[in-house]
């Protein structure tokens, strides 16, 4: 018996290294007509040619240094104990329909002109995709998921350094350090991406001409982290549930010329933290159920207009530079509109003594809505009307434009309710 077990174990060892393809599965078809490791297939493909991979797992680390299109099919994957794919110093590289599982990075690309990654799935090891010193980068439907655990131990999903003209859309990213980390990169457009459960969904530093549209970021430490940037447009994004310790929906630091419009921010600890930001317009956004909506320092030129504030604890808190509030709707505005022009007849006072203290000592937020703070807030509204340092909207809108027409039902709750009703009906009939 013992001898049999030894022989079985010995045979199993060889089995683990065997490369015999499973019967019934198609063999890899390539344009070059060769069947070998992926590196040989890449080398054998002529410059500018297309390599079509079959449904199988290619094991190892591979490099590309010439124009090429590599296409997989559903089930094509690269599995590596290091970085799966390294692309360097070339142009016109397209990678499509491939799944990457790597202990280190999925893809590292440097010095590329025109790189397209489409329908790529990465199970992140230490990093997802790293691109540097490249131009004309297109990322379409790139899905990256990291391991469970705290973000401090993880790498970025998509990191782009010193590059120009980046377009990314339809990506799903979760459980990483930063969803997009973009540094010293200009002409950036991120559209319709979904990022969650990470440190920062989008983290941008030293970038010019940035467009962020229709992205959905939720349950991160911070949604959008825009630092040292110029000419930024953020529109139609959904930023929700960023509500852990130190969480912020949008954070701007040392930013110049920024438009922030038509976004929805809800259930964030702080919806917008604005520091040292100039020429910024915050317009037509919907802020609901946030702890604090606007927190601003050294940003006196920020203009906040035509927004709606619903169910937030604190509308704004700033340093002595303040911000410009104008023509917004506030659900806690108690003034009247006797002349019927849609604008309240009295000012809306966003200044809040306690809010000012919270700017200096954030830990004070734990006392929000305590009886003493509520009394202090009441006193504020009575005495700050003529204070030049107060944050005042002199044209508050009395009717909000947005009506929530969303209707949803929990399926299990519905089925449970039906069962209870039927049970009650049966019991009633039995009793009668």
């Amino acid at each position: 018996m013992l001898l049999f077990l030894c022989i079985a174990l010995f045979a199993l060892t060889f089995q683990a290294f065997a490369h015999k393809p499973q019967e019934g599965t198609p063999k890899p078809y390539i344009h070059t007509g060769e069947e070998s490791t992926l590196q040989k297939l890449i080398d054998a493909t002529e410059s500018g040619g297309t390599l079509v991979l079959d449904k199988r797992a290619y094991q190892g680390s591979f490099s590309i240094s010439k124009p090429i299109t590599i296409k997989g099919v559903e089930g094509t994957s690269i599995v590596s104990l290091e970085t799966a794919l390294e692309i360097s110093n070339t142009k016109n590289v397209v990678i499509e329909d491939i799944e990457l599982k790597a202990e280190e990075a999925g893809i590292v690309a440097t010095g590329i002109h025109k790189l397209t990654l489409k329908n790529i799935k990465v199970e992140q090891g230490t990093a997802g995709i790293e691109i540097s010193n490249s131009t004309d980068i297109t990322l379409d439907n790139v899905d990256i998921s990291g391991q469970a655990g705290h973000f401090a131990t993880k790498g970025h999903a998509i990191a782009i350094y010193k590059s120009v003209n980046v377009q990314a859309s339809e990506s799903d990213i979760s459980n990483v350090l930063d969803g997009f980390y973009i540094e010293r990169t200009d002409d950036v457009s991120l559209t319709d991406n979904r990022i969650q459960d990470s440190r920062y969904a989008i983290h941008m530093m030293y970038s010019d001409k940035v467009r962020l549209d229709f992205n959905d970021v939720r349950a991160n430490l911070t949604g959008l982290m825009i630092m040292v940037a110029n000419d930024v447009s953020i529109t139609n994004n959904s930023v929700k549930k960023n509500n852990t310790l130190n969480s912020v929906g949008i954070y701007t630091y040392d930013v110049n010329k920024m438009v922030f419009s038509d976004n929805e921010l809800s259930e964030n600890t702080v919806a917008m933290d604005i520091q040292d930001t100039r020429n910024m317009v915050i317009k037509s956004n919907f802020f609901s159920t946030n702890g604090t909506v606007i927190q601003a320092k050294y940003s006196g030129s920020v203009s906040i207009q035509d927004n709606e504030f619903h169910g937030n604890i604190l509308t704004a808190r700033t340093d002595e530079e303040g911000v410009l509030l104008q023509h917004n709707f506030y659900d806690d505005y108690t003034g009247k509109d006797y002349d019927g022009d849609g604008i309240g007849d009295t000012n809306y006072i966003a200044t809040n003594s306690f809010g000012q203290w919270m700017v200096r000592k954030p830990v004070y937020q734990y006392f929000i809505e305590s009886p003493s703070v509520a009394t202090l807030n009441k006193m504020d509204t009575e005495v700050t009307d003529h204070n030049s340092l107060a944050i005042i909207d002199d044209q508050p809108i009395v009717m909000g434009k947005t009506f929530n027409t969303n209707f949803s039902i929990n399926g299990w709750q519905f089925i449970g309710s039906i069962f209870v009703l039927i049970a009650m009906f049966i019991v009633r009939r039995k009793l009668i």
Binding site: H150, F151, A152, L177, E183, R184, R199, M205, Y206, L221, M225, M227, V228, A229, N230, L245, N246, V248, Y251, Y253, D254, N256, D273, Q275, R278
Partner: protein, 152 residues
């Protein structure tokens, strides 16, 4: 018995003295919860971290030397008991006034300010042999143009 009282008194004084504000020791960085007091970034790259121990024993943490300098520029250093920066070659904390600095726009730091700290001028010079940069003194950092990005 009398000498025992004196010994207890001296030990108590020494113990209390050790707990006084005179000892401004750095603390370990917690990557999961520490946030830079200036730029609000979480301090995940500990090798570049800095900290200021205030005279009231509060400790402010910074993710980059440039953020510590921004704090000093904004608030002065009257309230700071001691400030520390992480040595680029080890895990030691260096007093910012004793460290030697090297700057290059190509050095990576969390905020891209590109200034690294070394325990001695020799180690800084050694580093520059492989990674070219320029030596900076602490007093030069106080007026240094932090940042690599021109807005206007």
């Amino acid at each position: 018995m009398k000498s025992l009282k004196w010994i207890i008194l001296l030990v108590s004084m020494w113990t209390l003295g050790a707990c006084s504000d005179g000892a401004y020791e750095p603390r370990e960085i917690n990557q999961e919860t520490d946030v830079c007091s200036i730029c609000n970034m979480s301090v995940t790259s500990v090798d570049f971290a800095a900290q200021a121990v205030l005279k009231n024993s509060d400790i402010l943490v910074f993710d980059d030397l440039g953020c510590l300098m921004a704090y000093i520029q904004q608030n002065g250093d009257e309230e700071i008991g001691a400030a520390y920066i992480r040595d680029a070659n080890s895990i030691k904390w260096l007093n910012v006034k004793d460290a030697s600095y090297v700057y290059s726009k190509d050095y990576w730091t969390p905020m891209n300010y590109g200034v690294l700290a070394f325990v001695s001028a020799e180690e800084a010079a050694q580093y520059m042999k492989e990674q070219p940069g320029e030596i900076k003194r602490y007093d030069e950092l106080l007026t240094f143009n932090w940042g690599v990005h021109d807005h206007e």
